[in-house]
């Protein structure tokens, strides 16, 4: 049973090795000429004005949050969907219950209008 996981182990090994080789090569072969401006933030050649942290619309957070929730739902559905014809009715029903619970959540959030981008145009 563990034989199935050896390709994954090899893949992890190659990825790690590649990342390390690239970083080490860059450190050895690349130029190192640090100057104070390379560490400062870029603001079109001028000195930076103000803070980097501004207030953003809350809609961004809503979209990101809901993406995470439904993406994880999809992650759970994928392995089931690959072989669902082999499983019995019980698995099917429990999966449907899972999807229905999240569907109710989706309907609720759509009706609440959390994904609407209410852009108020203020003409003063």
């Amino acid at each position: 049973m563990t034989d199935n996981y050896i390709p994954i182990l090899i893949m992890i090994g190659i990825a790690l090795a590649l990342a390390l080789v690239l970083m080490i090569l860059s450190r050895i072969l690349g130029p190192h000429r640090p100057n104070v401006h390379k560490l400062r933030p870029y603001e079109s050649g001028m000195d930076p004005i103000g803070q980097a942290r501004d207030r953003y619309s809350v809609s961004f957070y809503m979209v990101a949050m809901e993406f995470i929730v439904f993406d994880l739902e999809v992650v759970f559905i994928y392995p089931w969907a690959v072989r669902f014809t082999e499983f019995g009715t019980g698995t099917f029903v429990s999966m449907m219950v899972f999807i229905t619970v999240l569907l109710i959540g989706l309907v609720y959030t759509l009706k609440k209008g959390t994904l609407d981008w209410n852009i108020k145009t203020s003409h003063s």
Partner: protein, 160 residues
């Protein structure tokens, strides 16, 4: 350090140079410093007819942190020269510079108190392109010149 002694003038260095310079020359991402009318010809240089991306300049990176070639296209006033120099300082090494057009090379038609008479007064320029504005093929030729310069004159020994 052991690295310097391993990187003396020898077989290993030239082989590494060949590979690294080939990679750097064929993936030269420009930072367009389009200050004036030469910027239009630079856009043509990047457009489909005189395609710069077939030479490796796949993207015009408008961020200095992600580019290695600055193309100064257009005249640079004294006021703007500080911003251009700051952006040049923010670019990571190794970096090269093309002065595109008559104004960036020598001040061009603007013989005036307010225009820097050539950006080489404050930037280390590698290739000058004459023309007002230069045709996009000439800018491609400048890019090819810089590629030759990288392949022949640049070496890992300069950097370790």
């Amino acid at each position: 350090m052991g690295i310097e002694s391993a990187f003396g003038e020898g077989f290993l260095t030239t082989k590494i140079d060949t590979v690294v310079n080939w990679a750097r020359a064929n993936a030269m991402w420009p930072m367009p410093m389009g200050l004036a009318c030469c910027a239009i010809e630079m856009m043509a240089f990047a457009g489909p007819k005189y395609d710069a991306s077939r030479f490796g300049s796949e993207v015009m990176r408008f961020s200095p942190r992600q580019s290695d070639l600055m193309i100064v296209a257009g005249w640079c006033t004294y006021k703007m020269s500080h911003a251009v120099r700051r952006i040049w300082d923010q670019m990571p090494d190794p970096k090269w510079c093309i002065a595109m057009g008559a104004c960036a090379s020598t001040g061009g038609m603007h013989r005036s108190y307010g225009v820097v008479q050539g950006v080489d007064n404050f930037l280390p320029v590698d290739a000058y392109v004459s023309g007002c504005p230069p045709r996009p093929e000439v800018v491609l030729h400048a890019l090819m010149t810089i590629q030759e310069k990288v392949k022949k004159e640049h070496s890992v020994l300069l950097d370790v």
